[in-house]
């Protein structure tokens, strides 16, 4: 049974989505949505949308209660109805909806996928013409042209009295064709520096940002695989849980991660079939001793030619020198699929997301 309320409920949800869009920056930078993620729903707390009315405020207000206690004792007042802004509504939003909201709010372009992997779905498009069909789909102009052609050919066309009478064979109808949309597959390769200089705050930023990147890309690709690489001086592949919670000490050799990513692509993700998105987050510190040069070589020779974009996010930390992003800038002035972003704090996450996803690649 379709409930009558559905319509009002949908209308309300639309309003809520507008609200979330307006406040998106706040939700993003607080990261409060991540803990509220279910399988495919996110629960978002929003202040109850109220219709404004002339109402009494809290100042000077009071009430009557019942129970024990002395004058001057504090009491907890429940639903007073007059306490401003305290009604919080939890709204469930699907990840799909959330991605749409994100896309709208940041004006993210849809990604043009490359490669065709599988046939995703087939649907009908009304874009062709045939000789039979229902009257409701009859094309008047086409039919008229056919009739005109026939009359001219058969010599029944009278220039003085151009009367065109279509017969059954002249009739043309709109018809459909089955269109198959290729499904494109994508792989996200997250790389993160877990060396001593990356603190909890930096990792939190990475976590929040990756949540939104996941949300957006899984909205763009039916099939999205995610791989996680952590590195300090050596790199290894881990699962998602470990990725966000590992902490190593020691130094940093970025090239180790790039080499591993490159190997992954070699072995499992042929670029002709896969859209490849490596995301690398560090605080910008790299060991000397020629490692930066090694990184640049790897990028130039192996990674950049094969990936859709290579996103490098540099999270500001107290210890990092932040040198690496400068090295990249100097070496890849013309590479348009190397995206560089500096994230200074949680407030910078939104802008960074836009820098990464705003290219539509």
């Amino acid at each position: 049974m379709v409930l009558r309320i559905e319509r009002d409920h949908n209308r309300f949800k639309k309003i809520v989505h507008g609200q979330i869009k307006k406040e998106l920056r706040k939700y993003v930078s607080k990261g409060e949505l991540i803990g509220r993620q279910g399988k495919d729903l996110v629960s978002i707390p929003i202040p109850q949308i109220e219709i404004p009315q002339f109402r009494h405020g809290r100042r000077g207000s009071g009430g009557v209660g019942q129970g024990d206690g002395e004058a001057g004792d504090a009491i907890a007042v429940g639903e007073g109805g007059d306490a401003p802004g305290e009604h919080i509504l939890e709204v469930d939003v699907t990840l799909e909806e959330l991605a749409n909201i994100l896309g709208d709010a940041l004006a993210l372009p849809r990604i043009q996928p490359k490669g065709k992997r599988n046939i995703a779905d087939a649907h009908d498009r009304y874009n062709s013409i045939r000789r039979v069909g229902p009257e409701s789909l009859r094309r008047f102009k086409r039919t008229y042209r056919e009739a005109l052609k026939r009359q001219i050919i058969s010599g029944t066309y009278d220039q003085v009295n151009p009367r065109i009478v279509p017969i059954r064979e002249d009739r043309r109808y709109l018809s459909w064709k089955r269109v198959e949309r290729p499904e494109s597959a994508a792989v996200l390769i997250y790389m993160m520096d877990v060396s001593g200089s990356m603190g909890d705050e930096q990792k939190e930023i990475v976590r929040i940002e990756s949540f939104w990147i996941d949300t957006w890309l899984s909205h763009q690709y039916r099939r999205l695989e995610k791989r996680y690489i952590v590195h300090d001086a050596i790199a290894r592949e881990v699962d998602r849980e470990t990725f966000f919670h590992t902490r190593e000490s020691g130094g940093t050799k970025i090239s180790s991660a790039y080499a591993l990513a490159s190997k992954m692509i070699d072995e499992e993700y042929p670029p002709s079939e896969w859209n490849i998105y490596p995301f690398h987050f560090t605080d910008g510190d790299n060991w000397g001793g020629g490692d930066t040069e090694a990184c640049i070589d790897l990028l130039r020779a192996s990674l950049l030619p094969r990936v859709n974009v290579f996103a490098y996010g540099q999270v500001k930390s107290m210890y990092g020198s932040g040198q690496f992003i400068r090295d990249l800038r100097d070496n890849f002035q013309s590479a348009d699929n190397l995206l560089l972003s500096e994230i200074r704090s949680k407030d910078g996450i939104v802008d960074s997301i836009r820098e990464f996803l705003g290219t539509g690649k």
């Binding site: 409930l3 009558r4 309320i5 319509r7 009002d8 409920h9 949908n10 209308r11 309300f12 949800k13 639309k14 309003i15 109850q48 949308i49 109220e50 219709i51 404004p52 009315q53 002339f54 109402r55 009494h56 405020g57 809290r58 100042r59 000077g60 207000s61 009071g62 009430g63 009557v64 209660g65 019942q66 129970g67 024990d68 206690g69 002395e70 004058a71 001057g72 004792d73 504090a74 009491i75 907890a76 007042v77 429940g78 639903e79 007073g80 007059d82 401003p84 509504l89 939890e90 709204v91």
Partner: protein, 498 residues
Amino acid sequence: MNLTGELERVREEIEAAARNYGLDFFETRFEVLDYEQINEVASYGGFPSRYPHWRFGMEFESLRKGYTYGLQKIYEMVINNDPCYAYLLECNHLVDQKLVMAHVYAHCDFFKNNNWFSKTNRKMIDEMANHSARVRRYMEKHGEERVEAFIDACLSIENLIDHHAPFIRRRDADGRRSAAAEGDRVEVSKIRSKNYMDRYMNPAAALEEERKRLEEKRLERGRFPAEPERDVLLFLIENAPIEEWERDVLGMIREEAYYFAPQAQTKIMNEGWATYWHSKIMTEKIVTGAEVIDYADHHSGTLAVQPGQLNPYKLGVELYRDIEARWNRGKFGRDYDECEDLREKATWDLKLGLGRDKIFEVRRIYNDVNFIDTFLTAEFCERQKLFSYRWNEKKGRYEIEDRTGKKVKAQILSLLTNFGNPFIVVADANYRNRGELLLRHRHEGVDLRIDHARDTLKNIASLWRRPVFLETAVEGKGKLFSFDGKEHQETDSEESAA
């Protein structure tokens, strides 16, 4: 879904018991709904067909959440209509259904017999469906967004009605205001003088000039409305430059506001009455031995009290019981009030047995305000451990203030004054002689919520289509808020200092 065999049998039994006790109600139709349906109906305020609006959807969302997480559950819902409609939740236990039915019959009796409901539309279910059809038609014609935005603006002022309007004719039959205020003549003040000096001190020409000047000033100001209008909705319906469909929608909102008003005016009495009777009917006639524990559990649930909250069920039922006991024993009237012997007072018993008749009379003629005012005694407050509390600005918390009966009663009454709404009147519809609208807030000790007040002003301006002003007081200082269609302003004003 209609009642199944067993429920129908139970219903007949309870109806008969209720009638035997003297309850008198419209025919009452019960329907059994599952939780989705009951949440839907509840979102619409009990009416299966309301006009479309997002706030019903919001209500639905929070009810559904509350139910899913087991935080709340709707037990009963009953509509003041002839016939009355009541809804039962499918998954409730039989004993709960019994309790709800008994409770509902008492509500229906209250709807039918309480004076404050006497002017409500008893065919409101049909009327609401009409409203819905009209709103849908307007939406088709003028666009959903536009109609919805207009309804938002109307709802913003739905509490600005005159609660006593159904009972008082404030106007002549033809809709005009009484002319008394209109006709006040201009009096020119004279300088006091001895008789023989008068024509020198107050020359006729100067008097005439002064009279003309005052007359002009009066015309210029030409108060409209002649007297402050409390029914702001009505005033706007009659005078705002809005389109016909908008006038119609505003009229519907007003009609619904007046329909719901008595329910807010008699919350304590109505719930108390229903609780009194479900308890009586259940314990004396209906409950079986096997059900008594469950019944007691759920009954006590409805009567539970928390320190910071007044439970209308509890307060109401205790007051009826107190009244019944007092009138049974004759504990009222001059002799009793003037008796100073506490022991004698405590054991006072004239064996009048008037209690039952008295509570039926009370349910007929009182509303919450005079119910509390008349029957809440100091002894009652003490016995029920009632106290008043207040917001402590310094400590940022609510604190217990006082336990004396007088204070508690005053506090309850102030909460109920104007049924919890601030007094707002249309003071001048030609403010500053520019057709601007001046509203005045009669400050009763509690400030308005400023953020809401601003947004409300904005909504009223969208109806009045000229700047709108609100005179109020904030922290003891007179303030004049305004919205001119573009921006808000706030200036000090002497007139309305509290």
